[in-house]
Amino acid sequence: MKIILVDDETKFINMLARRLSLRGLEADVAYSGDQALEKAAQTRYDIAVLDMKMPGMSGFTLKRKLLDQLPDIKFIFVTGHGTLDQNGVPDQFDDIFLAKPLNIDTLIDTILQRLHPDQ
């Protein structure tokens, strides 16, 4: 399973990658949309966990660009915005949103559910 975490909050994303690693899930990190696209050109990721608001390129813009490179990739959006009222529930575009601060177990459950919806 190839995971990429994208957020301009470097300490947050590094710590998240470390905690996932302790649970047996290895994840690459990118601190910007451009960096994520560079990594996606080298690695066939199965799922991307994206911050919605990042300098330069928003999570939604990055999603569109990643889909051009990796048509099968799945997405989870992470947001610090207070208007989130559907934590963990897919919207009409089948995107899943999780609110910050994250619960690591919820994130892992969501990743697994996105990749293996029938299990």
Binding site: E9, K11, F12, M15, L16, R18, R19, L22, K53, M54, P55, G56, S58, G80, H81, G82, A99, K100, P101, L102, I104
Partner: protein, 220 residues
Amino acid sequence: MTSHTSDLVHEQGLQFFGSVNASISHELKNIFAIISETAGFLNDLTQLSKQGKPFDLSLLENCSNSIAEEIERGFDTIRQMNRFAHSVDDPVNDIRISDALTLAVKLTGFLSFARKTHLKTPLENSSEDRSVFISPFLFQALIYKTLSALYRAMDPTAELTLALKDTQSSGVTVIFSPDPPVDLTDFPDPRIDEVAQALNAAFAVTDTGLELTIVNTKPY
């Protein structure tokens, strides 16, 4: 405060107030997210230790340093929030222009599309610094909206410099210099201009950027 200025506070001011609060809450959530993940990682290390699995003790030091840094970041954010909240204490008051610019730069810094900004205003005991008797809240709104509009027009890697220039009369000019320069032919937006006019301030687009001249200032 005139009735027109009061209307502006209610119409554009509320929008500005909401925007600032949304960006501050976003910043605080990011800070809490880092502290939360770091606390979770400390718990992970505790569980490893209970299982007799060794780990590098420097990880604990890194975690405590990270938490301390984020708490300081949170305090700084709350300090700006508090200063901003007090801008509505008085309908009009004497404000130091460099203080208002500093706060506006800090507040817009929470926006995801903010650009790196250098403030060259004199901060302490400078003859260039001025104060003006004005609506502190609307003046904050004016600078914030101006910075936001410039950031949106600028390339993500571009930088902005703000400086103060004396005018020959009793005015002072705030100079906004984006590097590289941007197309400002449509600036200012009528809503921003409306706020400027209510504050007796005027914009001028120059070859290198933008100038905002404020009249009736006095030495601070």
